[in-house]
């Protein structure tokens, strides 16, 4: 990261000359000390133009400067993690509001002839084994069925509409545990909830 490179350079210069100041370093880099202070502390990033100028002053090659420019645009780990979480919960919400396999499995589980056998469920729902297994895993994650694949919705009136509503509520609840808000009543958008 460019900031660390700058901090290292500043520390090296101060070690060689304890009286070396931030103002002197800023003057060397052709910027003002206030801007440099913010860049060093991480309060702001160097612009591409500043990075090029500072990089040249520090004796970096064009290739090295290009790498630093690219690195400045790579999202940090926490951003990547949050984006993955957002994608995950959005996909979970989409999965329970589209298609009717989840609903069909729960409905089947209430029948006396129900068999806890994915091949039987796939045959009944005319879907593939992988589709059934994905849906079962999701139903377990959302605690809509129990470990023995029995209905855990607790709904007095189990219809496709009431089931979907409950399933979406469960997705919202689980997403909220990861500080993600999935389409509220008024705002039909998915967003981060800042802690």
């Amino acid at each position: 990261m460019f900031r660390q490179r700058l901090n290292l350079e500043f520390a090296t210069r101060k070690k060689a000359n304890p009286r070396y100041s931030l103002r002197a370093f800023a003057a060397f880099l052709e910027t003002d000390h206030s801007t440099l202070s913010k860049i060093l502390s991480g309060a702001r990033k160097a612009t591409s133009s500043q990075l090029r100028t500072m990089g040249k002053k520090l004796g970096m090659s064009a290739e090295e400067i290009t790498v630093h420019l690219a690195a400045e645009h790579v999202p940090d780990e926490s951003t990547v993690q949050r984006e993955a979480m957002l994608a995950h919960w959005t996909a979970e919400a989409l999965a329970v509001v589209t298609g009717s396999l989840h609903w069909a499995i729960v409905r089947l589980s209430k029948r006396p002839e129900f068999q806890a056998d994915c091949r039987w469920i796939a045959g009944q729902t005319k879907t593939t084994l992988d589709e059934v297994n994905l849906a079962l895993t999701r139903l377990l994650r959302l605690e809509l069925i129990d470990g023995r694949w029995r209905d855990q919705t607790g709904l007095a009136e189990l219809t496709e509409i009431t089931f979907r509503k409950l399933a979406l509520e469960r997705v919202r609840k689980k997403a909220a545990e990861d500080h993600i808000e999935i389409g509220g009543k008024e705002r039909k958008a998915t967003k981060w909830v800042t802690r």
Partner: protein, 118 residues
């Protein structure tokens, strides 16, 4: 005595392709003839552990999950949560009597707990 890692599971976006690839490369036998339609991998070797292949949800990248055998899945899952893990799939009895649970460790890596059928 500590708990052993006894299973690996490939979570794949294309389970069938994964089965073909690894079956062909390592001469593993993959058999899905069971109530879960679970693609069990028999490596054919007495060394190492055996595994399986499970479909990955559309938003999840392909990855490998390790399962650790425990005596009591529920108790170990509860202990893991106390230590900072997050329960993804609660303790679940499988059709052939095995029990499993899947969790995220405090760093976000998923792992499974496993107890063989009694």
């Amino acid at each position: 005595m500590g708990n052993a890692v006894t299973q690996f599971q490939i979570i794949s976006k294309s389970p069938e392709e994964a089965a073909k690839f690894y079956g062909s490369l390592f001469r593993w036998k993959v058999d899905a003839n069971n109530p879960m339609g679970y693609r069990r991998i028999d490596t054919g070797s007495a060394e190492g552990i055996q595994g399986g292949i499970w479909p990955a949800p559309p938003q999840t990248p392909t990855f490998v999950q390790l399962f650790v055998t425990v005596e009591d899945v529920k108790a170990t899952a509860a202990e893991a949560v106390e230590l900072g893990a997050k329960l993804l799939i609660p303790p679940t009895m499988l059709p052939e009597g095995e029990e499993m649970a899947v969790l995220h460790d405090p760093q976000g890596m998923s792992f499974g707990l496993w107890r063989a059928a009694v």
